[in-house]
């Protein structure tokens, strides 16, 4: 399987990558662990799967896009 992973804003800068790919994951939490090399997950990180907000225990399918980002500050 191939999962597209994206990081945004301060999280992108902290992690040091904006996009990567991972394989062999079952949940969004696994995606984080795999993409960040098991970095500690800040408590306020948000996750979206295929452009929709999701949970860290949400199941991931082949071809999904998973994005991690800090609290939003638009508007």
């Amino acid at each position: 399987m191939s999962i597209q992973v994206k990081f945004f804003a301060s999280l992108r800068e902290t992690i040091g990558i904006s996009e990567t790919q991972v394989t062999s994951v079952s949940t969004a939490g696994d995606v984080w662990d795999s993409a960040t090399n098991n970095s500690e997950r800040p408590i306020n990180v948000l996750v979206a799967v295929n452009l929709e907000y999701a949970q860290f225990d949400s199941l991931i399918n082949d071809g999904d896009e998973v994005a991690f980002f800090p609290p939003v500050t638009g508007g």
């Binding site: 945004f8 994005a67 609290p71 939003v72 638009g74 508007g75």
Partner: protein
């Protein structure tokens, strides 16, 4: 219904007027409510001279269109328009415009108020401010008070 992400400065009042002209709303709507969020030159007391607005383009478009659909389901709206600026922004620049059209006033007013709250809480935009103390990511949006 219309959602635009704007890389350039935009004039919110002209945008409303043009949207209204282009749509076939004439003579049917009785109420237009709008909200414009503008960059102020201060935030948490540190002078802010510039700002960069980052977003998650695909999700932004998807999320804002969903919001407009939800608003249409909750209220009897005739039309709505959302414009959100991204990229480099300077003080006094409009950041966001929300406009809602309806036959009667409460639908437009309540939908407009709801849309800006939802957008502020959930739309994937992030502000990075530059000022005399250097750059910093805005950590969270205020509750609007």
């Amino acid at each position: 219904m219309s959602t635009h992400i704007s890389l350039q400065a935009f004039d919110p009042w002209r945008a409303i007027a043009e949207h209204q002209q282009q749509s076939a709303l004439d003579k049917q709507f009785g109420a237009t409510a709008s909200f414009v969020g503008t960059m102020r030159d201060f935030n948490d007391s540190a002078n802010v001279s510039r700002m960069v607005l980052e977003h998650y383009p695909e999700m932004t478009q998807h999320y804002l269109e969903q919001l407009e659909n939800q608003a249409q389901q909750k209220w009897e709206l005739l039309d709505s328009l959302i414009i959100h600026r991204v990229g480099e922004i300077t003080p006094a620049d409009p950041i966001v415009l929300i406009a809602c059209w309806s036959a009667h006033r409460r639908a437009a007013l309540d939908a407009c108020s709801w849309l800006i709250e939802e957008l502020k809480h959930n739309a994937p935009f992030w502000k990075k401010e530059s000022g005399q103390n250097g750059d910093r990511w805005v950590e969270k949006n205020t509750d609007g008070l």
